[in-house]
């Protein structure tokens, strides 16, 4: 990475130009290295030895996959199971095995039992210790999420929210796809917010926190419902922490933003792309030429590096991939 950074404003190893270079790679699938609260992205296909050594220095690595939409069979991707399997193959071929995987929702298209079954069977091939889930709105259709909770949320609270600690990092999975209000966006709800507040209360300021949820917890594009009504309340509980990373899915494209101590990151879908904000008639599936489909699908790998890094100064405007 070092030789890509021309104007380093902080001794953190990343600047705006480096960040934008990372963005340019996003369409081919990304490998991200987290350093003191900033995610650094690497393309699978363009990864060189220096990248691999940077990744190897991390304390641990985990991957994020998202929006598998098993059961979808329309023009934007008639075989979402095949592309999920390709994503898994890429994940298994990473230079470092992710110690666990986060799936940030929309496992299925229509919450059908056979769709969940196909997903589960496919994910058995992932070389990792464990997969953690949060539901997307497609996973809680018709039954208010009962089947989702039965399969993935037995140890979780409420609609499926949960937290765990891994090597000194606190992970929180939030659910923002339930009990949505007419005219509104994603919603966490008071019960979950109360739980979240108490969940992070006892943590030291220095504990890195990673929050993952399906719908973005930042206002990506409210006109398309790409945001969460009460996310500010959740984020206010995280202000005192030095390093916060928020991982989301839902919008089927990579976007990153750094705001204060928080790095926001959305992942690509393993199924089909969606248009950049406002760049289409709707946020629905986007048909791209067949030979381009695989360049807009992928997974995110996060390598956690413990160190004394200040936060990068990164342009906060939205960047589509």
């Amino acid at each position: 990475m070092e030789d890509t950074i021309k104007e380093n404003l902080n001794p953190d190893g990343i600047d705006r130009r480096g960040f934008l270079k990372c963005m340019a790679w996003a369409g081919t699938g990304t490998l991200c290295v987290m350093q003191g609260g900033v995610l650094k992205s690497f393309a699978f296909s363009g990864m060189n030895e220096r990248d691999a050594s940077s990744i190897a220095k991390g304390d641990f690595a985990f991957a994020q996959i998202s929006d598998s939409h098993i059961g979808f069979n329309k023009a934007a991707n008639p075989d979402v199971t095949a592309t999920l399997r390709e994503a898994i193959a890429k994940l298994n071929a990473l230079p470092r095995t992710p110690e666990f995987v986060l799936h940030t929702g929309d496992l299925t298209q229509l919450s059908k039992a056979d769709e969940f079954d196909t997903l589960d069977q496919s994910l058995r091939a992932v070389r990792t210790n464990r997969i953690f889930y949060v539901p997307g709105e497609h996973d809680v259709l018709n039954d208010n999420g009962a089947q989702y909770r039965e399969r993935y949320g037995k140890d979780a609270n409420g609609d499926g929210w949960h937290s765990f600690d891994y090597k000194g990092v606190h992970f929180v999975g939030l659910v923002n796809v339930m009990n949505l209000k007419a005219g509104g966006l994603g919603s966490l709800g008071q019960e979950q917010l109360k739980w979240f507040e108490s969940d992070v209360k006892g943590l030291k300021h220095s504990t890195p926190v990673v929050v993952f949820a399906h719908i973005p917890l930042w206002a990506v594009y409210p006109e398309w419902g790409w945001g969460t009504d009460d996310s500010e309340q959740a984020l206010s509980c995280l202000k005192r922490f030095g390093s916060v990373t928020v991982l989301n899915g839902h919008i089927h494209q990579v976007m990153q933003k750094v705001e204060g101590n928080v790095t926001f990151h959305t992942a690509m879908s393993t199924a089909f792309p969606q248009p950049a904000p406002g760049q289409g008639p709707s946020p629905g599936p986007m048909k791209v030429p067949d030979d381009k489909l695989r360049s807009v699908l992928g997974i995110t790998n996060v390598d956690f590096v413990r160190g004394k890094h200040t936060l990068a100064v990164v342009d906060s405007s939205l960047q589509g991939a």
């Binding site: 259709l141 949505l180 966006l185 629905g284």
Partner: protein
């Protein structure tokens, strides 16, 4: 409650597609629209209900049809009607027997809202 019960019965008759429905309509729900029960449709395209707002006579059956590649629902704000998730080309119908204004939305994509005004 009485009119609600009747509305469900009427819906079943409609499903049967028999002349009975028309007979019931003309006998007990006639709105000056001839012998046929009034019916209209609302389409779902590009995450929007079209028309977004409609005004109908009492007894009219509204059918929503989803043309999107993603599932949507039709849920009234006051819980008077609620569809299952509608996949591509799936439909949902509801017969409005009482006058009033019925705001509704897609509970999967709540940014999608619409309104049915029954006179």
């Amino acid at each position: 409650m009485k009119s609600r019960t009747f509305g469900i019965g009427f819906g079943i008759a409609l499903l049967a597609g028999s002349a009975l429905a028309a007979a019931m309509s003309s006998a007990r729900l006639a709105q000056g629209a001839g012998d046929q029960p009034a019916a209209t449709s609302i389409t779902i395209d590009n995450f929007s209900f079209t028309p977004k707002e409609i005004t109908i006579a009492k007894g009219t059956t509204v059918t929503w049809v989803n043309h999107d590649d993603v599932p949507h629902t039709v849920v009234s704000a006051d819980k008077k009607f609620k569809s299952k998730a509608l996949d591509t080309d799936d439909t949902f119908s509801f017969t409005f027997t009482d006058a009033g204004t019925y705001g509704y939305f897609c509970s999967v994509h709540p940014i999608m809202t619409g309104k049915v005004i029954v006179r």
